[in-house]
Symmetry: C2
Subunit: 293 residues, 2 copies
Amino acid sequence: MPTINTIGFIGLGVMGNAMAGHLLAAGYRLCVYNRTREKAQNLVDAGAFWCPSPAELAPHCDLIITIVGYPADVEQVYFGDAGLIANARPGTILVDATTSRPDLAARIHAAAAARGIPALDAPVSGGDLGAKNATLTIMVGGDEAAFLEAKPVFDRMGKMAILQGGPGAGQHTKMANQISIAGCLMGAIEATTYAAAAGLDPRKVLLSIGPGSAGSWQLNNMVPRMLDGNFAPGFYAKHFLKDLRIALDAARAMKANLPLLELAERLFAKMSAEGMGDLGTQALYKLYESGLV
Amino acid sequence: MPTINTIGFIGLGVMGNAMAGHLLAAGYRLCVYNRTREKAQNLVDAGAFWCPSPAELAPHCDLIITIVGYPADVEQVYFGDAGLIANARPGTILVDATTSRPDLAARIHAAAAARGIPALDAPVSGGDLGAKNATLTIMVGGDEAAFLEAKPVFDRMGKMAILQGGPGAGQHTKMANQISIAGCLMGAIEATTYAAAAGLDPRKVLLSIGPGSAGSWQLNNMVPRMLDGNFAPGFYAKHFLKDLRIALDAARAMKANLPLLELAERLFAKMSAEGMGDLGTQALYKLYESGLV
């Protein structure tokens, strides 16, 4: 198994910056690129090499991790003459940690394989805190050999990296994750809306319903924020909408009828239309409160 | 505060029988009634007094607990010449632990108060295991004085009895509980349906998504049962449908628009129509599998 010495990191938002920092701290040589250069400064100060484009970053690296915004951004970074696939050395492992389309992950895998480059899709869960504390869950799709090579790198960023299957399986797993979140979050918000309408104290209700079979991470963590009027993004509503649409597209392509997912997409689209896309997912409660549901 | 020596117990199904057993074991004198007498036999053998009707049970008791099937059963036990309200002594505390209509709880409270009888609504969560192990959560509505009198009795049957508000508040809290369950359960089932359609191993997916922000009691407990083909009732689908309809009626009366609750009611009604009402709630997965959603 080849040794991974130099890692490229593209996409240095809140998540990527923290993840890249762990790799630098672990002693890897780190090459970084980000659309907005300033977001790389802390890493460069700590010893990372700035590369002015993905094409210039690619040849230096044994493994390259990308975590960017939308599937269109992923396409741009991977494909074309200036993309990673055209510019990486054969054998370099490409890892897309963006939550993106499963079919795009499969396309990247195929195009990269044609050049002797293994590619993994590896979206994460655990949020900014998980990235900061290196406790992310990493859901991986691709070939086992590449997964095993990349595993020590994953283990620096997260506490649980699992190979879920072939190309796209990481993205599909993340979609299952988002679907479960959608159900728990809407259930929590409707339970709270109901309780408030009934004249109950929703905080006291949470004491009764939070610990038992009605309990969920969303109920126990998001409801207190909502009730405090804290709608700051732990996770942006607009990004969740993006994820729900990816899941819905994939479900339709697989002929899976998922009415809860459809409902979630409708409500988050409505939130976005009302200008709340830059709030956290828990701000869906405001849509219920305003009667716009 | 008057001492509670004799407790009446009406409704000796799986839940009621276990709850009554704890009271007998705690040293209370216990009077029992059930539509099917055989279900009382174990308690009578252990020292409980059999009463042939609610009317004959009522005068002996300082506190009476009912846990029957549907709101219509509750009405029959409480109202009319043969009902508890007409036959209990003033001061006897009436406790309805059935999951029932909040407006019925308010009617019982008012009719009982007119005869000097305090009434509490006190539905429970925690299921058959919670009843057996005396770890139920008890959600109470009514007057504080009656709650405080009844509290030592509640504490023999559950680990958390909370007064949530006035008459009906216990039922409203239980409805909030059921709404959150509906969201978590449907989210878990759609996540699993999606994962299976994508060719993933849903058990492995659960390892990735169960512990984090997608996690819920329903996801982590019901999905393994579904995947094992275990659709035995921990909680009957038909009873959950009853609860969802109570919640939906109440929500409509309060002008609360709850689309997830509406969806849940539609799917569980469909399940019942397909003859799956006597299975557990997790059998909703079969509806998804069969494409009947």
